[in-house]
Symmetry: C2
Subunit: 298 residues, 2 copies
């Protein structure tokens, strides 16, 4: 990527996490070298990675999707490449991408909320990523929207993620099927909740399926509530919504965009509410921007 | 106050807001001159004021308790004194006071939540007050803790302030009395909800009064929930709780201090949870620290 955010080359390859961190690191190194061969004047490398990244060392402290614990991603690649290396959590990197070159360009602060398999977020305040005192800021998916609500695998109850995410929808269907609830989503998923998508929930709700309607109404209302509370606390200049579920069902963005101004304080009503613009590549663009030294660190 | 936070002299006088802004400003000027006469080398003056303060001009944009709109507090006093003048919202100033010289001393970030007549907060992130893009950050009293919950005078429903604040308690008693609910708080307030205090609610709950018990349980659970969500989003180093209701009923601090670690993400568990240390003077100490140039501005 150039310093002004223009992506000049792309390569994609499956992660193959099941083969272990060493294979993934070797594959990553090979990909980066391939790109560098065409762009030898490249000054820095950025890697966006799901999971908890140590803000100083770039070590992947914990990445459940990859099955990684304490993998020294940054130092390994740095040794192999001899270039400045930046590793950032993918959701925070995506927020930074939207801030630097996407829906939040021109603002000084934004909150970006991503709804996909889970729900995550990143906040840019006064032109810098806010990572939190122990690198844990932005866990909007685990803010609690219902007192003693649905059980969450995190061990608590009523977390937003159980009401509006791919994994949350699947979990609710699993419980419903176990409880004998009648829903067209049973035959549509051939009884396998892992096949359920947000699009299917919305379509079934529109077709009058009572279970799907309840699930979808909860999704709209609690995403709106949680995001509104986020805005009320932080009063950012822009709110950016992205992720697979937001992209698959346009109505969800519309519901939140209409609902948040009604649920936030008068002071926050100047808020810009935008769809994420960088799509799947927002994390990549964001971490490239961070790596190139476009601020982001304090 | 000295630059290291030692208060060297105090004067108190009733605001007499009912006499209008001109009288209040004249009275304030007189008080400050009285203090300056004893400390002629004073370099700056700070004023903490309830309401919405313009961050650049120090004008009181709106202060419902005083009945003020667009009162040029900073410029008026500056003309009268010829000293550098800083005006800050009292709750934000209090948060800064706790950060600079109180319960948050030594940290780089904190969230301070004050529960009194209303519920307000201030956040210090990476050593600076976060005021929000339109000066509206921190309205935790108007985060919504119950979907379609109790009506709030702000026009929305389920706001935290209706469940845990002096005004919220009084409002609930007013509704209960109008609805014919039997409670010992009726005779104890002589039928006048404006006489109700948090201490009375807690004592009646402990004595088995069903209405008071419900009100108090809601207060504990929803303050804990809202504060936990705040921590989950911002991951501050310290959480500081203060204000009249927190000071009057020690149990409320204990309930929140015990509950927040259970309701926040693993990452936030290093959180320090502290009582506010500066009491009624936290706003004064905080704005003096801001005025003396102890950071706080970006």
């Amino acid at each position: 990527m150039t310093a002004d955010g223009k992506v000049v080359s792309r390569i994609e390859r499956p992660t193959e996490a099941e083969r272990g961190p060493h294979v993934v690191l070797a594959s990553l190194l090979e990909l980066i070298r391939q790109l560098l061969a065409s762009y030898p004047s490249t000054g820095a490398v950025g890697v966006a990675c799901a999971g908890q990244i140590h803000p100083a060392t770039g070590t992947v402290v914990y990445a459940p999707n990859l099955g990684w614990r304490d993998v020294p991603l940054a130092s390994h690649l740095q040794r192999g490449l001899g270039l400045r290396l930046t590793v950032e959590n993918d959701v925070r990197a995506a927020a930074w991408g939207e801030f630097a070159f996407g829906a939040g360009a021109g603002t000084q602060s934004l909150v970006a909320v991503y709804v996909g398999t889970g729900v995550g977020s990143g906040a840019v305040l006064d032109g810098a990523l806010w990572r939190g005192a122990s690198n844990g800021a932005g866990e909007v998916g685990h803010t609690q929207v219902v007192w003693e609500g649905l059980d969450c695998p995190c061990g608590r109850r009523g977390c937003l993620e159980q009401y509006v995410s791919g994994s949350g929808f699947q979990r609710r269907l699993r419980l419903a099927l176990a409880g004998g609830v009648a829903t067209r989503l049973a035959p549509e998923t051939a009884g396998d909740p892992a096949r359920l998508t947000a699009t299917m929930v919305k379509a079934a709700a529109d077709a009058g399926d009572a279970f799907a309607r309840e699930v979808w109404e909860d999704a709209e209302r609690f995403l709106t509530l949680a995001v509104a509370n986020y805005v009320t606390l932080l009063n950012p200049e822009a709110l950016v919504l992205g992720g697979g579920v937001i992209e698959a069902v346009p109505r969800l963005f519309e519901a939140v965009a209409a609902g948040v101004p009604r649920l936030t304080t008068v002071l926050a009503r100047g808020l810009r509410i935008e769809r994420a613009q960088l799509g799947d590549w927002s994390g990549v663009v964001g971490v490239a921007a961070l790596a190139s030294g476009k601020a982001g660190d304090r």
